[in-house]
Symmetry: D2
Subunit: 304 residues, 4 copies
């Protein structure tokens, strides 16, 4: 079974100015993060504007990521939906493309009970043997998986990982303690809980800022997991310096895309109703990238 | 321009056991609530499992409600979506069917900024002159309209009403105070904030429990708005007695449907991934309906 | 038994510049609020810096209020403390001075269980027949009375009233619904929940801003309780205009004292560690008092 | 200057059945925790029912702890109060007794502004050179120190440590990151944030459960700070097993005292209004102590 751990960037989906899919840019982005040293790749998740993709686009994205990654690390395909049948449609695309795992959330928007979430995942598991990473993101989906429910779901062999993004340490630490004997718990918000979660037993993180951070993200992970805490702490502080840039960047993931563009990496446009970052927002982003030492090299070159 | 006020039930969408749309049942439900004395009807909102309807079904529902209502009260059609273009597709259906207004939420799931929400509604307004009731439901959509944003949107003539469902009195009272000079603020959760909101200046409420409450809901509204506070308070207490029934009923609106069935009104099945209420849940519902004095008459008849 | 209802100002305790007690000023303030039309007076509560008073001062304050009020309305004496024995010491002072009731909180700072709070009040009741108004102020005391506990305490004949200051409508409305058959529920934060609470069945409010509001506060109460909702709503909006003034005024009740001084009413100095309002804060306060129409008369006179 | 770090138990104050101070028991408890391997001792803090002690008792406690510790580790004396003058009175007792540092909270109950808290500490510093550990406990005191304020206070040389007990990781991690270059940040709630805080840069913790945990607490600290994460994680899980025992034990620190009694360590009675643990609560505590492997030895002995 696939092992999801380490640094897994949640890739944005590059769109051209006419908002059509820019597969070539996605392939470049995929190569860049692999060169940075990541341990897996997630495509068509929230960072990838999963809600804005039709089935053909989703398949094309899955195929591009699988093809470009060429087996070096696992590729995870985002397959969230309200309905089991639609989740399965997307899982079939992931299977067809050769993804190694799929990411699924509890049904968003409908505010299901814990019992109906359990049945939802059981029905998915009955339909497909694809390894599943559950994505718990209560703010976005309007529903939180309880620790008890996750404990139950962890018994399912095809549920291999949990990505927890609730910003709530009590929740995250409990997920880790209760479930890490049976699945891989991956954190998020590495600036906030990165080191804490890895110390507690998270085996990695799925993170949308990693393509912006570049090699700094794998450096952070290696430092945190080899006992070099001072280095890990110092990188964490640098990561949090990006916060004002993202805050000034409009609706996520527009800010990630703008930061990538500024860094010369493939960012591109977001799709409606998400608007591109304003010139003022881009300028703030540029400054925090310098402040965090991420634009340093480039800026130094320009000044030279 | 249409005036949305008073008691507006959010109707469930009856499905048959095979989960196909039961339009005849919807028509009966529509007639029943009009007989109860309501002042408007909302169809294909959250209570109507808006997420589970395709365009043909949505149009059929809109047409059935308009036809059955026959101009006696306004009909509001639920048209929420992430994308402006998809909202407009649905608004066209509402226009075509003859609805009097449409209900739209901020884009769910994508967690937009206040600025992107503003643009979202401005783009919708630019496309259609249909009167809009904005629906603020942060828990479900993952995003809250700020009071400042709503104040700005209230200046748009086609935005005629706000349905506020945040359960937060500070928020609700501020919406009422800031915006009621330009639009109709409608509450929700009448058991919790019904009387308070009407006293503060809400002109009515959009409520999913009203089809279950029957004439009790209009009685509550009349009492609350004619100064008969003791009657209003007493009804409010009865309404809150239903709470354990809904808590035991699984994912909303399964409990509403079960309660309607118990009362001999058209409830029907929910669509996946929402599961029907269990026999145990139905029994709890039956008991709270009796406890609240809503099943009294029927029970008395049976005993006679 | 004393009936606590209507408008009950929580009086500040005027201190001179050397921080000694200014009893003459307290007597004037007491007269002023009675002239404004209040229905009761609370002294030595939180607004009265109860924590900064020794027993002699507390007794002198109780006596001054009782003497000045001369039986026209009830006088409530603040007697909060961590220990039953110390509460009783203070209650004896209130009895001796002729107060009509005492105000007591759950033991602050020690975070007691609901059970230990119950015992605390039972032990107090066993010692003294003085009518008690319980003051629930979780933010300050670090402990919240549950609705169930209050329901139990409401059965005690000597517990005649509840002052609820949690800013939480769910809590306040439940207290009213569950307990108002046995005791008088009084709200707080009239700008936020004034009209709502009175509609729900609160019989009045204990409020620290009333001495600043002057006759406006009784006007609000009369409007709200005689069905003149538009007048009540309009006054509520004016009351909330004071908010930025209090926010700029440092630690409560320094801002109340500054506002009283600006209005020519007896305010005076607060005791350490509470610092007097800065000149900038006083200027903001002056402006909001004008903006709310409370300084209008005076300002007009000056300009004339 | 004294260095506060490592494992610092917050000692309870043993009272006899007549609620008089049991200094001999305190001396025994002090010896026991030193034998367990702690790195400092806090007396007359919240765990020590600081609110229930008069000045003579406080001095006697300070002297007993200093005498018994005999310079092996630092002794910290609890000196919290609302008023600067009263804090200083207590600090004088600590100086006189030979304590190495004092613990002070922001003024409880009065809900001061950040500015008035700053002045409060500045006035204390101006009066005494005793090293201060600030104790941030918002739930109890009703006021939270902001990260910005703590950052400013960290510049004061006599403020040598911060004990943070807010259970909020965002807060705790920010305190550590912003202030650890100038003072020692100590966590609390080791079952919840122990390992996380130490990884992030906390240098230890002040903890009330340590006298119950015995050598397990220093073992946890050594494991966590020498990279033996699996051992640290395992101990953390054992520590959290005590939670139901404390939840069933009434008002803190009654449960600590009951657990100590069960373990044959000096616990004793709490002072009113805190009531002793009920027999049922003690039985639950006994069971969780066995479940956590803390009573293991004793139980084994009994069974033998």
């Amino acid at each position: 079974m696939v092992e999801l751990k380490g640094v897994i960037p949640a890739l944005t989906t590059p769109f051209k100015e006419d908002r059509s899919l820019d597969l070539a840019a996605l392939r470049r982005l995929n190569d860049i993060v692999l060169d940075d040293g990541v341990d897996g790749v997630l495509v068509a998740g929230c960072s990838g504007e999963t809600w804005a993709l039709d089935d053909d686009e989703r398949l094309a994205i899955f195929k591009a990521a699988v093809d470009q990654t060429a087996g070096r690390v696992p590729v995870i395909g985002g397959c969230a939906d309200i309905f089991v049948s639609r989740v399965i449609d997307k899982v079939r695309l992931a299977e067809h493309a050769g993804c190694n795992a799929v990411m699924i959330t509890a049904p968003p928007y409908i505010m299901p009970t814990q019992g109906d979430i359990y049945t939802f995942f059981k029905e998915i598991i009955a339909e497909s043997p694809m390894p599943i990473m559950i994505y718990n993101h209560p703010k976005r989906t309007g529903v939180a998986l309880s620790v008890d429910l996750m404990d139950r779901l962890a018994d399912e062999p095809t549920i291999v990982a949990l990505k927890e993004s609730s910003k709530d340490w009590n929740q995250l630490s409990q997920f880790i303690r209760r479930c890490r004997d049976r699945l891989n718990v991956l954190g998020g918000y590495i600036g906030l809980t990165g080191l804490a979660a890895l110390s507690e037993g998270a085996v990695g993180y799925v993170d949308s800022s990693t393509p912006v951070l570049g090699p700094l993200s794998p450096q952070f992970f290696r430092a945190a997991t080899t006992g070099d805490l001072e280095t890990a702490r110092a990188i964490q502080v640098r990561i949090t310096k990006l916060r004002p840039g993202f805050d000034a960047s409009g609706t996520f993931p527009a800010g990630i895309k703008a930061a990538l563009d500024i860094l010369g990496r493939p960012g591109g446009w977001p799709r409606d109703p998400i608007k591109p970052v304003t010139p003022e927002g881009r300028e703030i982003m540029r400054r925090v990238l310098i402040d965090a030492g991420i634009l340093e090299g480039e800026e130094a070159r320009k000044r030279a």
